[in-house]
Symmetry: C2
Subunit: 334 residues, 2 copies
Amino acid sequence: MKIYTIKDIARLAGVSVTTVSRVLNRRPDVNRETREKVERVMAECHFVGNANARGLKQTDSDVVAVILRGRHNPFLTSLAEAIMHYSQGSGTSFLMEFIDEQDDEFQTALRLTHEKRVKAFIFVGSRIDDRCKVLLGMDIPMVFATAAVGHEQLARASAVTIDERAMARLAVKHLLDCGHERIAVFGASRTEGDNLSLRYQGALDAFREKGLVFDESRYVETRFSMEGAYECAREFFLRRPDTTAAFCMSDSVAMGLIRALKDLGRTVPDDVSVFGFDGTEMGQFFIPRLCTVEQPVDDIARESVRVLMDMFRNNAEPTEVVVKAELKLRESVK
Amino acid sequence: MKIYTIKDIARLAGVSVTTVSRVLNRRPDVNRETREKVERVMAECHFVGNANARGLKQTDSDVVAVILRGRHNPFLTSLAEAIMHYSQGSGTSFLMEFIDEQDDEFQTALRLTHEKRVKAFIFVGSRIDDRCKVLLGMDIPMVFATAAVGHEQLARASAVTIDERAMARLAVKHLLDCGHERIAVFGASRTEGDNLSLRYQGALDAFREKGLVFDESRYVETRFSMEGAYECAREFFLRRPDTTAAFCMSDSVAMGLIRALKDLGRTVPDDVSVFGFDGTEMGQFFIPRLCTVEQPVDDIARESVRVLMDMFRNNAEPTEVVVKAELKLRESVK
DNA sequence: CTGAAAGCGCTTACAG
DNA sequence: CTGAAAGCGCTTACAG
């Protein structure tokens, strides 16, 4: 089957390519009959415009990209979708780019800048580190949704986050208030200087406030997947069975951990209390329902779009927005 | 910051654009010193080739697209990823396109045909219906992974599936063998002529074999999400509390249903047995672990790639491959 | 309201 | 091993 180009359509409709292009782009300045004829021909041919050619030529379109790093993280996925939702009313077209966790969101941004003339970015699931230096010197507004640490090094970068440290503190405080003292913390590397280290600091804060010291030997470094958490938790609770509570830095980790405890013959929350983080849908359906720090996905999304558009349209200064998060006290803690 | 083009690089490196293009494409016929100089300049400029321009010109590349419809379905996601994994050894470059469940995978295919010169497709999460007629007459090899019904209408379409009907029959047979008789079936519309109606037929087969008749009033039409299933199941089990088992056409549905039962004060599997379908990761971590029909993701992926490449490279006839699935008997059934 | 022409950033024969 | 030139399918001033 032939691949029709705008030239073919022009020939078949008996008009110039310019006119076809106008119809394609819904320009108002086309005679109605001409438009209808062209549209008919396009429909008959199943014509699909070549986005490469368009992208190559179109140079002054205002387009914003949402780059989501980590397709598998349900919290990030729902956040990115909420951002796309709120982008509707902005009067600007947003496009969404999914990349793997191993991919580099800054390289992706650079590429989109060239290929799709993207003029602004919202990063979801980004970790701001040395890799961002490829964007240095680019006068491009960007917003980091749920990542704040280090965004200052980029000239026009804003951040929308919850107060990670304060929320982690409240979560662990709740466990302490429930009478737990031998608390484990399941997170990742503590030296990254990212959100997770803020959560770790928050956990330490809670202990400190009570005049206690967190027993470092109860810190467990885990992959952020159910399976990774399952393995780590199994090993840990065999070794340290006196632990009565765990603060997990994501809901997936919490669920993997609960399953591991169950397989060790221990019940949540009767034997061990478990706190999650993020407030994913699955956590609400899990048995027991997860006690967690709920990220206000809608608020983060709405603010991210607002802040970005304000920088983009009104040349507003970069800013740092902290939205209010909530503790969801549910079945997994006692 | 300037956006560098191949022309800029050529000027800065003191060579022609042809030579830069050669370096970019890792052609062997470039002097080592020349190559190194060009590479140095590209690195300094953070040069990123413009994929639009490349896509516009490059006309004879062999590229296969995997189109995944339904980003949210964890089974489909893992299947698409497995396909990408097996594509590595094929000697052809594969690209993956994620689209929403509401989007049209056949329109997407048509677009990719034009834009990226895609020469063959693997569809994941497709439902073959009238929409596919935009691809009619196109001499393009395609494989439907886990969808078979209706693929014959496309000239060069193959299908790789499990025997949906037989597996559903075995699942319901197992429930009947366990002594259950008042069994509910949670699925979608039964008239679509797709995989789900095959599963429904399989369920009926199991009853028929035992000389029983499925009580149609125990068929529940639900959205395929935990929340959708939760609502439907809650309503259903309030109305029909004598039901002792449920066959669910996906794991998500099963999990939503189990949560609903729990909230009604009923325990799985002690009060009600629940069978899922797909064999997702979450089902293995859920409490109770899900009894389910496991789709052999790796086998389906490997066969899909093999069948496609065979059609693509060797002009093999379209075929229909049925891979072996397995019942995973786990905690949720008694 | 319509069209001829230039050009976006690449790749690809072709010539040397 | 290297380069000049044509052209991929569009859009966009510009002219009428």
